[in-house]
């Protein structure tokens, strides 16, 4: 469990990135921080591995205030995946994946064997092990990034817009892959994105952020769609327009579902649960 306790962050240039932010991120769940740029979502993420220290307030992991832990040791125990993959360009794929285990003193042979297994886990051909990051496609680099994040078998995996820079088709593929991985691995995932579709797909808990890290609403995807707290949330999740606003139309003996633009979304199959309407 990760806990933010009245956290604020003011950067040296005076920008107030986060103001009085409090939240509990449950273990073994995926929490998605979503907001536009300037919402402080990346700052919040980076507070979990002390890449950013809060100006006031504290962050606790399983009840322990992380300000008391040495940053380097803390970071080696937390997986981190970032947008541009952040791989070391002068090291092979295998060495990149084995970086952190080697820093933690795992014997080289063992670290490399484990890294090969991780390539399988993230769906990469072992033949790529000896390539350099520059020789891979963007999607492959991100997979290597995920493998590196998983290399120390961390309880917590931080993902900072990891699929932001790949094309939509590869992104969809990687998102599905992450859903599959999370089913098997059961990590506490903290995921940052500005894409609400991605948030709905991956998140158990979604945090919608306004400017300055203020929480607009926290909830499951269903909560946010069914009961948006205000117009900002409604507009952010798209509950007020397009293909999220559906209504039923009678078509002969069947019900079909149509969105607000009049486009057919699908058919209604079975009866909705009582009391849900």
């Amino acid at each position: 469990m990760i806990e933010f306790r009245s956290v604020s962050k003011r950067f040296p240039d005076g920008t107030l990135a986060v103001q009085d932010f409090s939240l509990v991120l449950p273990s073994h769940k995926t929490t998605v921080l979503v907001g536009s740029s300037g919402s402080g979502k990346t700052t919040l993420l980076r507070m979990i591995n002390r890449m950013v220290d809060p100006t006031s307030g504290s962050v606790a992991i399983d009840g322990e205030d992380i300000a008391t832990l040495p940053p380097v040791k803390l970071r080696r125990g937390i997986g981190y995946v970032m947008q541009n993959s952040g791989l070391l360009p002068h090291r092979t794929v295998l060495d990149n994946v084995a970086t952190v285990p080697l820093l933690r003193g795992t014997p080289k042979r063992q670290a490399r064997a484990d890294a090969l297994v991780l390539l399988d886990t993230v769906g990469l051909d072992r033949a790529l092990a000896d390539r350099y990051p520059g020789q891979l496609s963007g999607g492959q680099q991100q997979r290597v990034g995920v493998a590196r994040g998983l290399a120390v078998d961390p309880n917590i995996l931080l993902m900072d817009e990891p699929f932001g820079a790949v094309d939509p088709i590869v992104r969809a593929e990687l998102q599905q892959e992450l859903v599959r991985l999370q089913k098997d691995l059961d990590k506490t995932v903290v995921f940052v994105t500005h894409d609400i579709e991605e948030a709905f797909l991956l998140g158990d808990q979604i945090v919608i952020l306004r400017e300055g890290g203020r929480i607009a609403q926290v909830g499951s995807p269903a909560d946010l769609l069914a009961r948006p707290a205000d117009d900002f949330v409604a507009s952010f999740v798209g509950a007020d327009r397009g293909r999220r606003v559906l209504h039923v139309e009678r078509h002969g003996a069947e019900d079909v579902v149509v969105d607000s633009d009049g486009r057919l979304a699908g058919v209604l199959n079975g009866n909705p649960a009582e009391g849900d309407r």
Binding site: R75, M82, P89, H90, L103, R104, G134, Q135, G139
Partner: protein, 248 residues
């Protein structure tokens, strides 16, 4: 043309290969002097440049100071130091070290600065200590630009080291000063040609080194040379093998 022939004859003259003024001896002195100067300048400039490059602090000061050091006339500094510590090898070592520091310093910190900030940030985020970031990320990736700085410094020192003979019985510069005094222009030109040959030889060696220090996996991104260096051979290799058929 006659003078050139005389100079070549002077270089080939067996009598110039014996005694305390022998060509091989002077060549060796010149080379050792250059190398020692470079080692001393590196000992100062590389750690300082790495510190500036890693922390991002003190860059303005380094640029200003380097500019100042470059502007000092080496002959003037040499004379000044010689007046202070006396005739001998100390003064040329000091003056030439000062000459060699700016390009090496620039090579060291620009080498670090040229690295993608996100790569360094990622290294820190996965748990590398600051020292490990320097050792495992910044030094290998910054090496090509550092070698560029060293190469530039070497050329400057090897040419300017002739001045050492002004205050010490040292190096190929002896032929220039002696030839000037006795109006033996063949000796002067011969000595100059030896300096040029030595410079070209070292230049060739550095060109090879620079080719080999580009880390594997790093393509043309780390190219070019340290700002202010005087050589005109930018490094641009594509060591990476393009393979569009990479299996997914």
């Amino acid at each position: 043309m006659n003078l050139f022939a005389d100079a070549v004859n002077w270089i080939l003259e067996p009598a110039n290969y014996v005694g305390s003024n022998a060509i091989p001896l002077r060549l060796a002195q010149h080379l050792v002097f250059t190398l020692v100067t470079l080692v001393m300048a590196s000992a100062i400039a590389i750690p300082l440049g790495y510190l500036i490059g890693h922390t991002g602090r003190g860059r303005g000061l380094a640029v200003t100071t380097s500019g100042g050091l470059r502007a000092i006339p080496t002959l003037g500094l040499l004379t000044l130091v010689a007046l202070w510590v006396g005739i001998g090898v100390v003064a040329p070592y000091v003056a030439l070290t000062v000459l060699a520091i700016p390009p090496i310093l620039a090579g060291a910190y620009t080498g670090f600065e040229a690295i993608d900030r996100r790569t360094v940030d990622a290294a820190r985020a996965v748990g590398m200590s600051e020292l490990q970031i320097v050792q495992k990320v910044e030094v290998p990736l910054g090496l090509p630009l550092l070698i560029g700085g060293l190469r530039s410094a070497t050329l400057q020192v090897i040419a300017t080291a002739t001045l050492a003979a002004y205050v010490a019985d040292l190096g190929l510069g002896r032929y220039l000063f002696a030839g000037l005094k006795t109006r033996d222009y063949a000796e002067m030109l011969g000595g100059s040609m030896l300096v040029i040959l030595l410079a070209l030889a070292l230049e060739g060696i550095f060109a090879l080194i620079q080719r080999f220090v580009v880390p594997r996996g790093v393509s043309g991104r780390v190219g070019g040379r340290a700002p202010g260096t005087t050589d005109s051979t930018p490094v641009s290799h594509s060591l990476r093998t393009e393979d569009p058929t990479v299996a997914r």
